[in-house]
Amino acid sequence: MLPLILFFIFAALCVGGAINLLVQKHPINSALSLIVVMGSLALIYLLLGAEFVAAVQVIVYAGAVMVLFVFVIMLLNAGVEERTEHASRVAMVLGVPGLIIGLSLAVWVVSHLAGLDCIAIGGPMVMNGSDVFGNPQAIGHLLFRNFLLPFEVTSILILIAIMGAVVLARREE
């Protein structure tokens, strides 16, 4: 019962933050409500037994990426979103049906997947007799054995992204 209550609390926070992101006019308010969404998602990951993913969600997403966003918003001194008459009407015409289609897909998922097995949460998930499911040790084992090549390619991707960011944001003489 307790996991269900916790799930509903954090799911409500998530959806509230996502809707607030849409409603707010100022980008800094949208960025802060996205941080709320990410923080409550991290707690939902903990409910699912994904300890490592929850920690990375807080450190990398809510920490590093969102700090970068907030820095850029303040650096550019971004004000209230300005409206363009014609184009925003077109976007509304496309965006509201997009939301409705997404939500009806959600309803479809509910009506078709309600019979699936329940996920056992609220206790440590036992894997191979000893390890707790989703702890950093198990993830590291998998990451450095089975996924070693993708992991190393990832480091090259990050390096290229850093160099690209420096080159793109450089002030031209």
Partner: protein, 100 residues
């Protein structure tokens, strides 16, 4: 016990909010935030299926999605800064040419 479908519905709602924000918003930074919201929605369904199938592969996928999102945020924000330097605006309707 929380059914898998609840997690999937939450994931779908987050993704739909991201799509709607991407289409409705006119500020380039808010559009970028909507993309991050969509990525988070997808990550949630990865983790939910990983718990359902008792497999850690979903967590690895989430890890790689986060890496790509971090790289994308760095490059994308650098592009936004460089666009703002030349155009002095963040409205995507005024940034309708790729050339500077």
């Amino acid at each position: 016990m929380v059914p898998l479908s609840y997690y999937l519905v939450l994931s779908a709602i987050l993704f739909a909010c991201g799509v709607a924000g991407f289409l409705i918003k006119r500020n380039i930074i808010t559009i970028f935030l909507s993309i991050e919201l969509m990525l988070n929605g997808v990550n949630l369904s990865f983790v939910a299926f990983a718990a359902q199938l008792k497999s850690l592969d979903g967590h690895i996928f989430v890890f790689f999605v986060m890496v790509v999102a971090a790289a994308e945020a760095a490059v994308g924000l650098a592009i936004i800064i460089s666009v703002f330097r030349t155009r002095e605006t963040l409205n995507v309707d005024r940034v309708n040419l790729l050339k500077l």
